[in-house]
């Protein structure tokens, strides 16, 4: 969750830094069933092992892609804190994650850009399992205020950036 005592500014962030990781799991069928029920999506590959293995020829019950994208947002939200805003997020589901795996959600700062009224921080993000295999590589852009600047606009207004 967001630390109410922490407020991150653009100037606080250095390129190359890894942001605090988020651990999830080991993932169980109860986790997946709870998420499927929350979404009201009854796709059997996320809770019905015989169907996943025998019918869809999968190696086991799969962690939902929609579940993993929530974890990416949680990682970035908690890091951006009270004053930041997750503007852009992209990711691909390149590999499966199965029940029993522990997931580590990570992010590395790859760049910083100054927009007219606030700063933008670019990150590589992803989710690895116990074997450090990447399943969900992606990129994100988080807006942060300048230390001596105004709070971010809310609702967020995409900045006009030069090409």
């Amino acid at each position: 969750m967001i630390d109410p005592k922490k407020s991150l500014c653009f100037e606080d962030v250095d390129v190359g830094v890894e942001i605090p990781r988020l651990k999830k799991g080991p993932m169980t069928t109860a986790h997946l069933m709870r998420w499927s029920a929350t979404m009201e999506n009854w796709h059997k590959i996320h809770y019905d092992a015989p169907f996943a293995i025998n019918h869809d020829k999968l190696p086991g019950v799969l962690v939902n892609g929609s579940f993993k994208q929530q974890y990416l947002v949680q990682l970035l939200k908690d890091w951006a804190g009270l004053s930041g805003w997750i503007w852009k997020l992209s990711y691909q589901f390149r590999a499966m994650n199965l029940v029993g795996e522990t997931l580590t959600v990570w992010g590395n700062v790859t760049g910083k850009r100054a927009a007219p009224d606030f700063g933008l921080v670019d990150l590589d993000i992803g989710i690895v399992n116990d074997l450090n295999k990447e399943s969900t590589p992606g990129k994100a852009t988080v807006a942060l205020p300048f230390r001596a600047g105004k709070p971010l606009p809310y609702p967020f207004v995409a900045p006009k950036l030069s090409p």
């Binding site: 969750m1 986790h31 929609s66 929530q70 852009k88 809310y154 967020f156």
Partner: protein
């Protein structure tokens, strides 16, 4: 071997009517969502520092995309397919867009998304979506051919304030 039927390409550019979520942002549903993902942040359930700039408790950033559930009086696919051993249970209609019938015999997997966030939905707000298919293409992979179905969806409040915009890829492949 090509697996993309010509008839599927006719769905490119198809835009759905605006669809309004059957329920507004419910406090209880926000709680279930928070507990399911393991993020019981106070910003989702009480006035606190984390949501002061949003005007009170809000839903999770991705919450709006999960608000489009089956409404009362509509066909129940679980019941209708109870005797079909091949029924996979996956949602067949997404974002108000029609199922792409020429691909309906194929399995579906989530292939990833590009998302922009602009605002968080507050408890009690109505949410609607506006979606269209932007591309349907075949791609060769080391495990054989797949079809990528790419759609773009705007999620808005009832007053047309943009919450988030999602460009979503679904992977369709023949069931072996």
């Amino acid at each position: 071997m090509a697996i993309l039927p010509e008839a599927a390409k006719a769905y490119i550019g198809v835009q759905a009517e605006d669809e309004i979520a059957c329920d507004p942002v419910e406090r209880g549903q926000v709680r279930r969502h928070a507990q399911a993902i393991g993020d019981e942040d106070p910003m989702y359930w009480q006035a606190c520092a984390g949501n002061a700039r949003y005007g009170g408790p809000v839903a999770q950033p991705f919450f709006p995309i999960h608000m489009f559930r089956r409404t009362y009086g509509t066909p129940d696919p679980v019941e209708e397919n109870a005797a079909d051993l091949d029924y996979d249970g996956a949602l067949k209609v997404r974002g108000g867009l029609p199922e792409i019938e020429p691909l309906s015999h194929m399995s579906v997997m989530n292939g990833g998304s590009e998302v922009e966030f602009f605002r968080l939905a507050r408890h009690g707000e109505t949410v609607k979506l506006r979606a269209r298919y932007v591309d349907i293409v075949e791609k060769q992979t080391s495990k054989g051919p797949i079809i990528l179905v790419i759609s773009e969806t705007d999620y808005l409040t009832g007053d047309d304030e943009l919450l988030l915009r999602q460009r979503h890829t679904r992977i369709r492949r023949p069931v072996k």
